[in-house]
Symmetry: C3
Subunit: 160 residues, 3 copies
Protein backbone atom coordinates (compact mmCIF):
# COMPACT_ATOMS: atom_id res chain seq x y z
CA UNK A 1 0.00 0.00 0.00
CA UNK A 2 1.13 3.55 -0.59
CA UNK A 3 2.12 5.66 2.45
CA UNK A 4 -1.00 7.79 2.36
CA UNK A 5 -3.26 4.74 2.15
CA UNK A 6 -1.44 3.28 5.16
CA UNK A 7 -1.98 6.45 7.18
CA UNK A 8 -5.67 6.41 6.32
CA UNK A 9 -6.01 2.76 7.33
CA UNK A 10 -4.11 3.43 10.59
CA UNK A 11 -6.48 6.30 11.42
CA UNK A 12 -9.47 4.05 10.78
CA UNK A 13 -8.13 1.45 13.19
CA UNK A 14 -7.36 4.05 15.88
CA UNK A 15 -10.77 5.66 15.67
CA UNK A 16 -12.45 2.27 15.95
CA UNK A 17 -10.62 1.70 19.23
CA UNK A 18 -11.83 5.06 20.57
CA UNK A 19 -15.39 4.38 19.43
CA UNK A 20 -15.32 0.96 21.09
CA UNK A 21 -14.16 2.51 24.36
CA UNK A 22 -16.86 5.19 24.17
CA UNK A 23 -19.55 2.56 23.54
CA UNK A 24 -18.30 0.52 26.52
CA UNK A 25 -18.37 3.60 28.74
CA UNK A 26 -21.95 4.24 27.62
CA UNK A 27 -22.93 0.63 28.40
CA UNK A 28 -21.50 0.84 31.92
CA UNK A 29 -23.09 4.27 32.52
CA UNK A 30 -26.50 2.92 31.51
CA UNK A 31 -26.63 0.21 34.19
CA UNK A 32 -27.74 2.59 36.95
CA UNK A 33 -30.42 4.34 34.88
CA UNK A 34 -31.76 0.91 33.79
CA UNK A 35 -32.10 -0.68 37.22
CA UNK A 36 -32.99 2.52 39.11
CA UNK A 37 -35.92 3.09 36.73
CA UNK A 38 -37.06 -0.53 37.10
CA UNK A 39 -36.37 -1.10 33.37
CA UNK A 40 -35.69 -4.75 33.96
CA UNK A 41 -35.72 -5.86 30.32
CA UNK A 42 -33.39 -3.04 29.26
CA UNK A 43 -31.04 -3.94 32.11
CA UNK A 44 -31.05 -7.64 31.16
CA UNK A 45 -30.33 -6.77 27.49
CA UNK A 46 -27.03 -5.26 28.60
CA UNK A 47 -25.87 -8.89 28.88
CA UNK A 48 -25.52 -11.39 26.07
CA UNK A 49 -28.40 -13.87 25.85
CA UNK A 50 -26.44 -16.32 28.04
CA UNK A 51 -24.52 -13.71 30.01
CA UNK A 52 -23.65 -14.20 33.68
CA UNK A 53 -24.04 -11.82 36.62
CA UNK A 54 -22.07 -13.19 39.54
CA UNK A 55 -22.41 -11.22 42.79
CA UNK A 56 -21.49 -12.12 46.37
CA UNK A 57 -25.20 -12.33 47.23
CA UNK A 58 -26.26 -14.46 44.25
CA UNK A 59 -25.55 -15.52 40.68
CA UNK A 60 -27.85 -15.21 37.69
CA UNK A 61 -27.30 -16.78 34.27
CA UNK A 62 -28.98 -15.43 31.15
CA UNK A 63 -31.26 -12.47 30.55
CA UNK A 64 -34.37 -14.16 31.94
CA UNK A 65 -32.74 -14.85 35.31
CA UNK A 66 -31.24 -11.36 35.52
CA UNK A 67 -34.58 -9.75 34.75
CA UNK A 68 -36.32 -11.97 37.32
CA UNK A 69 -33.73 -11.08 39.98
CA UNK A 70 -34.54 -7.41 39.47
CA UNK A 71 -38.20 -8.20 40.17
CA UNK A 72 -37.30 -9.77 43.51
CA UNK A 73 -37.80 -8.18 46.91
CA UNK A 74 -34.23 -6.92 47.45
CA UNK A 75 -34.22 -4.66 44.42
CA UNK A 76 -37.91 -3.71 44.54
CA UNK A 77 -37.53 -2.63 48.18
CA UNK A 78 -34.59 -0.41 47.19
CA UNK A 79 -36.74 1.17 44.46
CA UNK A 80 -39.57 1.94 46.90
CA UNK A 81 -37.18 3.84 49.17
CA UNK A 82 -35.31 5.40 46.23
CA UNK A 83 -31.99 4.02 45.00
CA UNK A 84 -29.04 4.99 42.83
CA UNK A 85 -26.54 2.49 41.45
CA UNK A 86 -23.48 4.63 40.78
CA UNK A 87 -20.86 3.11 38.48
CA UNK A 88 -17.37 4.54 38.88
CA UNK A 89 -14.95 5.59 36.19
CA UNK A 90 -13.42 2.35 34.89
CA UNK A 91 -10.13 0.97 33.66
CA UNK A 92 -10.98 -0.42 30.21
CA UNK A 93 -8.73 -2.89 28.42
CA UNK A 94 -9.73 -3.60 24.83
CA UNK A 95 -8.54 -6.66 22.93
CA UNK A 96 -10.22 -6.81 19.52
CA UNK A 97 -13.74 -8.17 20.02
CA UNK A 98 -13.47 -8.54 23.79
CA UNK A 99 -12.76 -6.15 26.62
CA UNK A 100 -12.47 -6.00 30.39
CA UNK A 101 -13.60 -3.01 32.46
CA UNK A 102 -12.65 -2.74 36.13
CA UNK A 103 -14.14 -0.36 38.67
CA UNK A 104 -16.68 0.00 41.45
CA UNK A 105 -20.42 0.22 42.03
CA UNK A 106 -21.96 2.16 44.89
CA UNK A 107 -25.55 1.43 45.89
CA UNK A 108 -27.17 4.44 47.53
CA UNK A 109 -30.54 3.93 49.23
CA UNK A 110 -32.70 6.61 50.79
CA UNK A 111 -33.50 6.10 54.46
CA UNK A 112 -35.84 8.77 55.82
CA UNK A 113 -34.15 12.11 55.28
CA UNK A 114 -30.76 10.52 54.69
CA UNK A 115 -28.99 8.60 51.97
CA UNK A 116 -26.94 5.56 52.94
CA UNK A 117 -24.25 3.67 51.09
CA UNK A 118 -25.97 0.29 51.29
CA UNK A 119 -23.30 -1.57 49.33
CA UNK A 120 -19.87 -0.71 47.91
CA UNK A 121 -18.57 -3.32 45.51
CA UNK A 122 -15.67 -3.97 43.18
CA UNK A 123 -16.79 -4.67 39.62
CA UNK A 124 -15.30 -6.65 36.76
CA UNK A 125 -17.11 -6.39 33.43
CA UNK A 126 -16.10 -8.97 30.81
CA UNK A 127 -17.47 -7.66 27.53
CA UNK A 128 -17.84 -8.96 23.98
CA UNK A 129 -18.65 -7.34 20.68
CA UNK A 130 -21.89 -8.77 19.25
CA UNK A 131 -24.26 -7.98 16.38
CA UNK A 132 -26.19 -5.87 18.89
CA UNK A 133 -23.07 -3.96 19.96
CA UNK A 134 -20.92 -4.47 23.07
CA UNK A 135 -22.59 -6.71 25.65
CA UNK A 136 -21.69 -8.16 29.04
CA UNK A 137 -20.63 -11.79 28.86
CA UNK A 138 -19.78 -12.02 32.53
CA UNK A 139 -19.94 -9.44 35.27
CA UNK A 140 -18.59 -10.01 38.76
CA UNK A 141 -19.47 -7.87 41.77
CA UNK A 142 -17.97 -8.39 45.24
CA UNK A 143 -18.63 -6.46 48.42
CA UNK A 144 -15.56 -4.59 49.59
CA UNK A 145 -15.26 -6.08 53.05
CA UNK A 146 -11.52 -6.52 53.54
CA UNK A 147 -11.49 -10.00 51.99
CA UNK A 148 -9.19 -11.27 49.27
CA UNK A 149 -11.57 -11.62 46.33
CA UNK A 150 -12.50 -7.99 45.61
CA UNK A 151 -8.83 -7.03 45.97
CA UNK A 152 -7.81 -9.68 43.45
CA UNK A 153 -10.45 -8.45 41.01
CA UNK A 154 -9.15 -4.90 41.26
CA UNK A 155 -5.55 -6.01 40.89
CA UNK A 156 -6.25 -8.09 37.79
CA UNK A 157 -7.87 -5.05 36.16
CA UNK A 158 -4.56 -3.20 36.32
CA UNK A 159 -2.60 -5.68 34.25
CA UNK A 160 -5.12 -6.85 31.67
CA UNK B 1 -16.19 11.57 -4.71
CA UNK B 2 -13.37 9.08 -5.02
CA UNK B 3 -13.17 6.26 -2.45
CA UNK B 4 -10.21 7.74 -0.60
CA UNK B 5 -11.90 11.14 -0.33
CA UNK B 6 -14.97 9.41 1.10
CA UNK B 7 -12.91 7.62 3.72
CA UNK B 8 -11.28 10.89 4.72
CA UNK B 9 -14.65 12.63 5.02
CA UNK B 10 -16.07 9.71 7.03
CA UNK B 11 -13.13 9.93 9.45
CA UNK B 12 -13.69 13.65 9.88
CA UNK B 13 -17.35 13.07 10.78
CA UNK B 14 -16.48 10.28 13.22
CA UNK B 15 -13.81 12.27 15.01
CA UNK B 16 -16.20 15.22 15.36
CA UNK B 17 -18.62 12.95 17.19
CA UNK B 18 -15.89 11.82 19.58
CA UNK B 19 -14.74 15.40 20.16
CA UNK B 20 -18.32 16.48 20.87
CA UNK B 21 -18.70 13.71 23.41
CA UNK B 22 -15.41 14.63 25.08
CA UNK B 23 -16.42 18.28 25.30
CA UNK B 24 -19.77 17.32 26.83
CA UNK B 25 -18.01 15.11 29.39
CA UNK B 26 -15.77 18.03 30.27
CA UNK B 27 -18.76 20.35 30.68
CA UNK B 28 -20.49 17.94 33.05
CA UNK B 29 -17.26 17.32 35.01
CA UNK B 30 -16.78 21.06 35.49
CA UNK B 31 -20.09 21.62 37.30
CA UNK B 32 -18.77 20.42 40.67
CA UNK B 33 -15.50 22.40 40.53
CA UNK B 34 -17.48 25.54 39.55
CA UNK B 35 -20.07 25.46 42.33
CA UNK B 36 -17.79 23.97 45.01
CA UNK B 37 -15.32 26.83 44.48
CA UNK B 38 -18.13 29.41 44.62
CA UNK B 39 -17.37 30.36 40.99
CA UNK B 40 -20.93 31.45 40.43
CA UNK B 41 -20.41 33.22 37.11
CA UNK B 42 -18.45 30.30 35.66
CA UNK B 43 -21.18 27.91 36.80
CA UNK B 44 -23.91 30.08 35.24
CA UNK B 45 -22.00 30.27 31.95
CA UNK B 46 -22.36 26.49 31.61
CA UNK B 47 -25.94 27.27 30.58
CA UNK B 48 -27.07 29.17 27.49
CA UNK B 49 -28.04 32.78 28.20
CA UNK B 50 -31.68 31.72 28.66
CA UNK B 51 -30.96 28.20 29.94
CA UNK B 52 -33.13 26.56 32.58
CA UNK B 53 -32.13 24.73 35.76
CA UNK B 54 -35.16 22.85 37.04
CA UNK B 55 -34.66 21.08 40.39
CA UNK B 56 -37.19 19.60 42.85
CA UNK B 57 -36.36 22.41 45.31
CA UNK B 58 -36.58 25.29 42.82
CA UNK B 59 -36.33 26.41 39.23
CA UNK B 60 -34.06 29.10 37.80
CA UNK B 61 -34.23 30.57 34.32
CA UNK B 62 -31.24 32.30 32.71
CA UNK B 63 -27.68 32.84 33.87
CA UNK B 64 -28.55 35.72 36.20
CA UNK B 65 -31.05 33.63 38.18
CA UNK B 66 -28.73 30.63 38.33
CA UNK B 67 -25.86 32.76 39.59
CA UNK B 68 -28.13 34.41 42.17
CA UNK B 69 -29.36 31.02 43.41
CA UNK B 70 -25.75 30.01 44.07
CA UNK B 71 -25.39 33.12 46.27
CA UNK B 72 -28.38 32.06 48.38
CA UNK B 73 -28.21 30.57 51.84
CA UNK B 74 -28.62 26.89 50.88
CA UNK B 75 -25.51 26.76 48.72
CA UNK B 76 -23.44 29.21 50.77
CA UNK B 77 -24.11 27.17 53.90
CA UNK B 78 -22.90 24.03 52.12
CA UNK B 79 -19.71 25.88 51.12
CA UNK B 80 -19.01 26.96 54.70
CA UNK B 81 -19.18 23.36 55.89
CA UNK B 82 -17.36 22.06 52.80
CA UNK B 83 -19.22 20.48 49.90
CA UNK B 84 -18.60 18.34 46.82
CA UNK B 85 -21.07 18.03 43.96
CA UNK B 86 -20.09 14.73 42.35
CA UNK B 87 -21.41 14.14 38.83
CA UNK B 88 -21.62 10.49 37.80
CA UNK B 89 -20.54 8.90 34.55
CA UNK B 90 -23.31 9.72 32.05
CA UNK B 91 -25.17 8.16 29.16
CA UNK B 92 -24.66 10.67 26.35
CA UNK B 93 -26.86 10.69 23.23
CA UNK B 94 -25.67 13.02 20.49
CA UNK B 95 -27.91 14.21 17.68
CA UNK B 96 -26.09 16.76 15.54
CA UNK B 97 -26.16 20.09 17.38
CA UNK B 98 -28.07 18.84 20.40
CA UNK B 99 -27.43 16.13 22.96
CA UNK B 100 -28.91 14.59 26.09
CA UNK B 101 -26.82 13.32 28.99
CA UNK B 102 -28.37 11.23 31.75
CA UNK B 103 -26.83 10.40 35.10
CA UNK B 104 -26.72 11.36 38.76
CA UNK B 105 -25.42 14.05 41.08
CA UNK B 106 -24.35 13.38 44.66
CA UNK B 107 -24.08 16.29 47.07
CA UNK B 108 -21.60 15.56 49.85
CA UNK B 109 -21.49 17.96 52.81
CA UNK B 110 -19.08 17.85 55.71
CA UNK B 111 -20.67 17.53 59.13
CA UNK B 112 -18.12 17.65 61.95
CA UNK B 113 -15.69 14.79 61.35
CA UNK B 114 -18.02 13.07 58.90
CA UNK B 115 -19.18 13.49 55.34
CA UNK B 116 -22.87 13.04 54.61
CA UNK B 117 -24.72 12.44 51.37
CA UNK B 118 -27.03 15.43 51.67
CA UNK B 119 -28.80 14.84 48.35
CA UNK B 120 -28.74 12.14 45.68
CA UNK B 121 -30.45 13.19 42.48
CA UNK B 122 -31.12 11.93 38.97
CA UNK B 123 -29.91 14.36 36.31
CA UNK B 124 -30.97 15.06 32.75
CA UNK B 125 -28.79 17.51 30.82
CA UNK B 126 -30.28 18.85 27.57
CA UNK B 127 -27.39 20.37 25.67
CA UNK B 128 -26.94 22.48 22.54
CA UNK B 129 -23.96 23.43 20.44
CA UNK B 130 -23.44 27.20 20.47
CA UNK B 131 -20.79 29.65 19.28
CA UNK B 132 -19.29 29.32 22.79
CA UNK B 133 -19.24 25.51 22.60
CA UNK B 134 -21.67 23.03 24.14
CA UNK B 135 -23.98 24.63 26.69
CA UNK B 136 -26.88 23.51 28.89
CA UNK B 137 -30.27 24.51 27.48
CA UNK B 138 -32.22 22.75 30.19
CA UNK B 139 -31.08 20.69 33.13
CA UNK B 140 -33.42 18.74 35.36
CA UNK B 141 -32.49 17.38 38.79
CA UNK B 142 -34.83 15.31 40.93
CA UNK B 143 -34.23 13.83 44.37
CA UNK B 144 -34.23 10.05 44.31
CA UNK B 145 -36.99 9.42 46.83
CA UNK B 146 -38.88 6.48 45.38
CA UNK B 147 -41.21 8.70 43.33
CA UNK B 148 -42.06 8.36 39.65
CA UNK B 149 -40.33 11.41 38.20
CA UNK B 150 -36.63 10.60 38.75
CA UNK B 151 -37.29 7.07 37.50
CA UNK B 152 -38.89 8.39 34.32
CA UNK B 153 -35.92 10.69 33.74
CA UNK B 154 -33.49 7.81 34.05
CA UNK B 155 -35.58 5.58 31.79
CA UNK B 156 -35.85 8.19 29.06
CA UNK B 157 -32.06 8.52 29.03
CA UNK B 158 -31.74 4.89 27.96
CA UNK B 159 -33.73 5.23 24.76
CA UNK B 160 -32.80 8.72 23.55
CA UNK C 1 1.27 20.39 1.35
CA UNK C 2 -1.73 19.45 -0.78
CA UNK C 3 -5.22 19.87 0.73
CA UNK C 4 -5.75 16.14 1.22
CA UNK C 5 -2.41 15.73 2.94
CA UNK C 6 -3.31 18.57 5.27
CA UNK C 7 -6.63 16.98 6.17
CA UNK C 8 -4.86 13.70 6.93
CA UNK C 9 -2.30 15.45 9.13
CA UNK C 10 -5.05 17.37 10.94
CA UNK C 11 -6.89 14.12 11.65
CA UNK C 12 -3.73 12.58 13.04
CA UNK C 13 -3.27 15.50 15.43
CA UNK C 14 -6.89 15.39 16.55
CA UNK C 15 -6.86 11.67 17.20
CA UNK C 16 -3.67 11.99 19.23
CA UNK C 17 -5.45 14.47 21.50
CA UNK C 18 -8.33 12.06 22.02
CA UNK C 19 -5.96 9.16 22.68
CA UNK C 20 -4.04 11.26 25.21
CA UNK C 21 -7.24 12.11 27.02
CA UNK C 22 -8.32 8.47 27.06
CA UNK C 23 -4.96 7.39 28.46
CA UNK C 24 -5.19 10.06 31.18
CA UNK C 25 -8.69 8.90 32.09
CA UNK C 26 -7.38 5.36 32.35
CA UNK C 27 -4.51 6.47 34.59
CA UNK C 28 -6.87 8.27 36.96
CA UNK C 29 -9.32 5.35 36.98
CA UNK C 30 -6.54 2.94 37.92
CA UNK C 31 -5.58 4.71 41.16
CA UNK C 32 -8.40 3.14 43.17
CA UNK C 33 -7.85 -0.41 41.88
CA UNK C 34 -4.11 -0.06 42.62
CA UNK C 35 -4.35 1.13 46.21
CA UNK C 36 -7.49 -0.84 47.13
CA UNK C 37 -5.76 -4.06 46.07
CA UNK C 38 -2.63 -3.14 48.04
CA UNK C 39 -0.65 -3.04 44.76
CA UNK C 40 1.76 -0.53 46.19
CA UNK C 41 4.38 -0.73 43.45
CA UNK C 42 1.79 -0.36 40.69
CA UNK C 43 0.32 2.64 42.49
CA UNK C 44 3.75 4.27 42.90
CA UNK C 45 4.51 3.72 39.20
CA UNK C 46 1.59 5.99 38.33
CA UNK C 47 3.95 8.82 39.32
CA UNK C 48 7.18 9.80 37.59
CA UNK C 49 10.30 8.55 39.37
CA UNK C 50 10.54 11.85 41.29
CA UNK C 51 6.80 12.58 41.33
CA UNK C 52 5.15 14.28 44.30
CA UNK C 53 1.98 13.35 46.20
CA UNK C 54 0.99 16.29 48.35
CA UNK C 55 -2.02 15.68 50.64
CA UNK C 56 -3.34 17.63 53.64
CA UNK C 57 -2.24 14.77 55.91
CA UNK C 58 1.27 14.36 54.47
CA UNK C 59 3.55 14.75 51.49
CA UNK C 60 5.56 12.05 49.73
CA UNK C 61 8.23 12.61 47.11
CA UNK C 62 9.26 9.89 44.66
CA UNK C 63 7.98 6.37 44.06
CA UNK C 64 9.79 4.86 47.05
CA UNK C 65 8.14 7.26 49.52
CA UNK C 66 4.71 6.84 47.94
CA UNK C 67 4.99 3.07 48.07
CA UNK C 68 6.18 3.22 51.70
CA UNK C 69 3.26 5.49 52.66
CA UNK C 70 0.85 2.86 51.31
CA UNK C 71 2.48 0.32 53.64
CA UNK C 72 1.82 2.53 56.67
CA UNK C 73 -0.89 2.00 59.24
CA UNK C 74 -3.45 4.49 57.88
CA UNK C 75 -3.83 2.76 54.53
CA UNK C 76 -3.32 -0.80 55.78
CA UNK C 77 -6.04 -0.28 58.39
CA UNK C 78 -8.41 0.88 55.65
CA UNK C 79 -7.61 -2.25 53.65
CA UNK C 80 -8.36 -4.54 56.60
CA UNK C 81 -11.82 -3.01 56.97
CA UNK C 82 -12.34 -2.80 53.21
CA UNK C 83 -11.87 0.43 51.29
CA UNK C 84 -12.66 2.00 47.95
CA UNK C 85 -10.91 5.08 46.60
CA UNK C 86 -13.41 6.48 44.11
CA UNK C 87 -12.04 8.98 41.59
CA UNK C 88 -14.63 11.31 40.08
CA UNK C 89 -15.07 12.30 36.47
CA UNK C 90 -12.39 14.95 35.82
CA UNK C 91 -11.89 18.16 33.91
CA UNK C 92 -8.84 17.44 31.76
CA UNK C 93 -6.81 20.22 30.13
CA UNK C 94 -4.17 19.01 27.69
CA UNK C 95 -1.24 21.16 26.59
CA UNK C 96 1.10 19.12 24.40
CA UNK C 97 3.22 16.93 26.67
CA UNK C 98 1.63 18.09 29.91
CA UNK C 99 -1.89 18.07 31.26
CA UNK C 100 -3.90 18.99 34.34
CA UNK C 101 -6.88 16.98 35.57
CA UNK C 102 -9.18 18.37 38.26
CA UNK C 103 -11.77 16.43 40.23
CA UNK C 104 -12.44 14.66 43.50
CA UNK C 105 -11.57 11.51 45.41
CA UNK C 106 -13.93 9.80 47.83
CA UNK C 107 -12.52 7.35 50.34
CA UNK C 108 -15.14 4.81 51.40
CA UNK C 109 -14.32 2.55 54.36
CA UNK C 110 -16.43 -0.28 55.68
CA UNK C 111 -17.48 0.04 59.30
CA UNK C 112 -19.43 -3.00 60.52
CA UNK C 113 -22.48 -3.35 58.29
CA UNK C 114 -22.12 0.18 56.94
CA UNK C 115 -19.94 2.09 54.55
CA UNK C 116 -18.70 5.51 55.58
CA UNK C 117 -17.26 8.36 53.56
CA UNK C 118 -14.03 8.65 55.53
CA UNK C 119 -12.57 11.43 53.40
CA UNK C 120 -13.80 13.61 50.54
CA UNK C 121 -11.03 15.53 48.83
CA UNK C 122 -10.45 17.85 45.90
CA UNK C 123 -7.79 16.54 43.52
CA UNK C 124 -5.39 18.21 41.13
CA UNK C 125 -3.36 15.88 38.91
CA UNK C 126 -0.41 17.50 37.11
CA UNK C 127 0.59 15.03 34.42
CA UNK C 128 3.45 14.66 31.95
CA UNK C 129 4.02 12.48 28.91
CA UNK C 130 7.01 10.18 29.45
CA UNK C 131 8.60 7.23 27.66
CA UNK C 132 6.40 5.04 29.89
CA UNK C 133 3.25 6.95 28.92
CA UNK C 134 1.39 9.62 30.91
CA UNK C 135 2.56 9.86 34.53
CA UNK C 136 1.79 12.02 37.55
CA UNK C 137 4.41 14.69 38.17
CA UNK C 138 2.55 16.24 41.06
CA UNK C 139 -0.76 15.39 42.62
CA UNK C 140 -2.45 17.50 45.26
CA UNK C 141 -5.29 16.29 47.49
CA UNK C 142 -7.04 18.50 50.04
CA UNK C 143 -9.88 17.62 52.39
CA UNK C 144 -13.05 19.51 51.56
CA UNK C 145 -13.59 21.20 54.90
CA UNK C 146 -14.82 24.68 53.99
CA UNK C 147 -11.30 26.12 53.79
CA UNK C 148 -9.82 28.17 50.97
CA UNK C 149 -7.29 25.74 49.51
CA UNK C 150 -9.52 23.00 48.05
CA UNK C 151 -11.78 25.70 46.60
CA UNK C 152 -8.83 27.38 44.90
CA UNK C 153 -7.72 24.03 43.44
CA UNK C 154 -11.15 23.42 41.99
CA UNK C 155 -11.40 26.93 40.60
CA UNK C 156 -7.99 26.76 38.91
CA UNK C 157 -9.07 23.56 37.15
CA UNK C 158 -11.81 25.46 35.35
CA UNK C 159 -9.55 27.94 33.65
CA UNK C 160 -6.48 25.86 32.84
Amino acid sequence: MDPRGERLAALERRIEVLEDEMEIRRLIASYGPAVDSNSREAAARMWTEEGLYDVDIGSWSGRAEISAMLADEFHQDCLVHGCAHLASVSVISLDGDSAVATGYLQLIVRSGDEFEIRRQTAQRWELVRTDEGWKIQKRIGRLIDGSREPRDMLESGLSS
